[in-house]
């Protein structure tokens, strides 16, 4: 097993002919992901990297049986790309694009809830089930098939942490980057639930950041619903209050959402928190 993506995942790439879309399509194909087609309006009925390209995501579903779509289009067009994907028939949409206005996302998320479609992101690095499928931009070489489920609000920080998991002799069942924006589809709790149910996952790494209180909610959820060992990491201990640290989601306002509070919350429910990335490997060695 694994969660969300596996060998049967049939991926459609929205924005396949763009700079990032084409680059990462190649990487996904190299990894073994079944990229069944791409979508670029006006370029339909051509091939790109030997992959058929359609005008509409609907066609990708109808003609190639795509069940997952990954979005690489610029922010300006990403909202419509999200609506199109959500209405196309695919079950999972991964949105790499960033810079989407929050109110637009609020509408998009309602649309997805109405249709029961899972959204990962926006502003997400995607996800990977090592040895099975990668739907995202995560660097493949750092992953190894294994039993640790990783869920993270961050992109590159996740790679850093995963590299330490792998170096410590472990591997990953699935690694999901949920995205750093204030409004996102799949949240910590949704991912934790899936990992708890997944027979292949034996432990979980949760990577949090300053801002909001999703980490606190996740801590409560873990206390009540997760039987598997969890290790957490929280970035932003030195972040000055009131400043955005890149992600729109990472605002400390009114004393809420600091790294300190989050770390204390995790520890209060018995979750081990790594004090720096390398420690993550050590903690899993203790726990597994």
């Amino acid at each position: 097993m694994s969660i969300l993506v596996d060998k049967d995942t049939r991926v459609c790439v929205q924005g396949i002919t763009g700079r990032d879309g084409s680059f990462h399509t190649e990487k996904m194909v190299e990894y073994g992901t079944k990229v069944v087609c791409g979508v670029t309006p006006g370029k339909g009925e051509k091939n790109f990297l030997d992959i058929p390209v359609y005008d509409m995501v609907k066609d990708a579903v109808k003609k190639e049986g795509a069940n997952t779509s990954i979005i690489f289009v610029p922010a300006k067009f990403a909202v419509d790309a999200l609506f199109e994907a959500g209405d196309s028939g695919v079950k999972i949409v991964v949105c790499i694009s960033e810079g989407i206005p929050v109110l637009d996302m609020s509408r998009v998320l309602k649309f997805y809830r109405e249709r029961g479609v899972m959204l990962i992101g926006p502003n997400s690095p995607g996800l990977i089930s090592p040895g099975k499928s990668k739907v995202g931009i995560l660097p493949s070489n750092i992953f190894r098939k294994g039993n640790i489920g990783v869920i993270s609000r961050s992109g590159t920080l996740t790679y850093e942490l995963v590299s330490h998991i792998t170096k410590s002799g472990f591997g990953e069942s699935t690694c999901i980057g949920i995205g750093g924006d204030p409004l996102i589809g799949l949240k910590f709790i949704d991912g934790l639930k899936l990992f708890e149910e997944d027979s292949e996952t034996e432990a979980i790494l949760l990577v949090g950041e300053i801002g909001g209180h999703d980490e606190e909610d996740a801590a409560d959820f873990i206390r009540d619903n997760v039987s598997k060992p969890v290790v957490a990491f929280v970035a932003g201990k030195t972040a000055p209050p009131g400043k955005r640290m890149g992600h729109a989601g990472a605002i400390i306002s009114g004393g809420a959402g600091t790294a300190k509070e989050k770390i204390e919350k995790f520890e209060s429910v018995g979750i081990r928190v790594a004090s720096e990335p390398e420690e993550v490997g050590e903690l899993f060695k203790e726990l597994l």
Binding site: S106, I137, S154, H247
Partner: protein, 378 residues
């Protein structure tokens, strides 16, 4: 993007909200002229992007034109939380009988806009939320349908005892939501919404924060931007697609990804160093972006060493390496540099950096330790 009170009020006026009369002045003379025009008591209010203006003495009630001049003179010479006051708002005083709170914000948890209202207006709403949460009425708006009139009615009925006042003020809630939705605001807040002796409502203080990601949809809004001192650099970085925040240490950081950038700062701190900045070069970085990042970083005279911490994904290590080489060629960079480049196209990057004075490190921890060492040696 933060707006000044007077800017927030201008937008609210456009949406038909009952904003108290007021004009902005940059000199005491201008302030005096406005006060003469209003012919009666006014408020003199410092316009700075921070709370706590009242406590700092930046908000004064003036009965006479002379008082206006005096207060404006002193307030325009002030710094509040280190921000110099460049403008004062001269607002016709309202005879306030009662103060209310009304705001629309985005609720991250429910993923819907949230209208909040309270009879405990004029004070810090977060304090009210902590100490008297039942005093706040909350109502979520489905952003696809928009705010329904009956929802606006529910809000005003919760605020006012007088049903007539409640029904008459429904449009205030409708207008505030409209502003929130049409301007892509993150916060649209009236605090206080003041009731005067004649049962009229006035917006006497206002806050609007706009979604930076939506500003391209509203080009007219960009002109409202008034960067604080120091913020110019952050904005220049933003224009180049970078995210930069200056701090107070001496180790300059160039990182890809916000989370990794923060973790890098945390790590430097843990091992006894002080980060000079947060700098995220973002995904899909071109060599030019890296160059720009270094340019911005080097304007900070405190920086004694530069630490590159790149974990390639969408960012390609070779692009970063090219950028470093280009920058060192163009600018005369004499500071020591430590580079940890791993992930996508890592080997290409190593080849590019070979022979340069940049110190390669295999891990983030070792990089941080090396950078600290160099910062202390230099």
């Amino acid at each position: 993007m933060n707006l000044h009170e007077y800017q927030a009020k201008e937008i609210m006026r456009k949406y038909g909200l009952p904003v108290q009369k007021g004009k902005v002045a940059t000199t005491p003379e201008e302030a005096e002229k406005i006060a003469m025009e209003y012919n009666g008591p006014v408020m003199v209010k410092a316009q700075v992007h921070t709370g706590g203006r009242g406590k700092a003495g930046g908000v004064k009630y003036a009965e006479t034109v002379d008082e206006v001049k005096n207060y404006s003179t002193s307030i325009l010479a002030m710094k509040i939380k280190n921000l110099p006051v460049k403008k004062v708002l001269i607002a016709k005083a309202v005879d306030i009988k009662k103060e209310y709170y009304l705001a629309v914000i985005m609720d991250r948890d429910k993923k819907f806009p949230l209208v909040m209202a309270s009879r405990e207006g004029g004070m810090d709403i977060e304090e009210v939320a902590r100490e008297k949460p039942e005093a706040i009425t909350k109502l979520w708006v489905d952003p696809v349908y928009g705010l329904f009139p009956h929802q606006a009615k529910e809000i005003t009925l919760s605020l006012f005892d007088g049903k007539t006042l409640a029904l008459q003020s429904v449009n205030i809630v409708i207008a505030l939501y409209k502003l929130f939705a049409e301007c892509d605001a993150q916060i649209a807040e009236i605090n206080p919404l003041a009731l005067d002796g004649e049962e009229r409502l006035w917006v006497t203080d206002a806050k609007v924060v706009l979604d930076d990601n939506a500003i391209s949809k509203h080009p007219e809004i960009e002109s409202l931007r008034d960067p604080d001192p120091g913020e110019e650099k952050e904005l220049a970085a933003k224009e180049a697609g970078l995210s930069y925040i200056p701090l107070f240490g001496d180790i300059g950081c160039v990182v890809n990804g916000a989370g990794l950038a923060m973790a890098t700062m945390d790590l430097i701190k843990k091992y006894g160093g002080e980060p000079a900045n947060f700098l995220d070069i973002g995904g899909s970085s071109s060599p030019e972006k890296v160059e720009k990042a270094l340019e911005i970083l080097l304007t900070d005279r405190n920086v004694r060493v530069i630490f590159f911490n790149i974990f390639g994904g969408i960012t390609r290590c070779d692009d970063v390496a090219k950028g470093i080489i280009q920058a060192t060629t163009k600018m005369k960079i004499e500071l020591p540099m430590v580079a940890r480049l791993t992930g996508t196209n890592e080997n290409k990057a190593k080849k590019i950096l070979k022979g340069s004075p940049i110190v390669p490190v295999p891990s983030m921890r070792e990089g941080a330790i090396k950078a600290i060492e160099l910062s202390k040696a230099g």
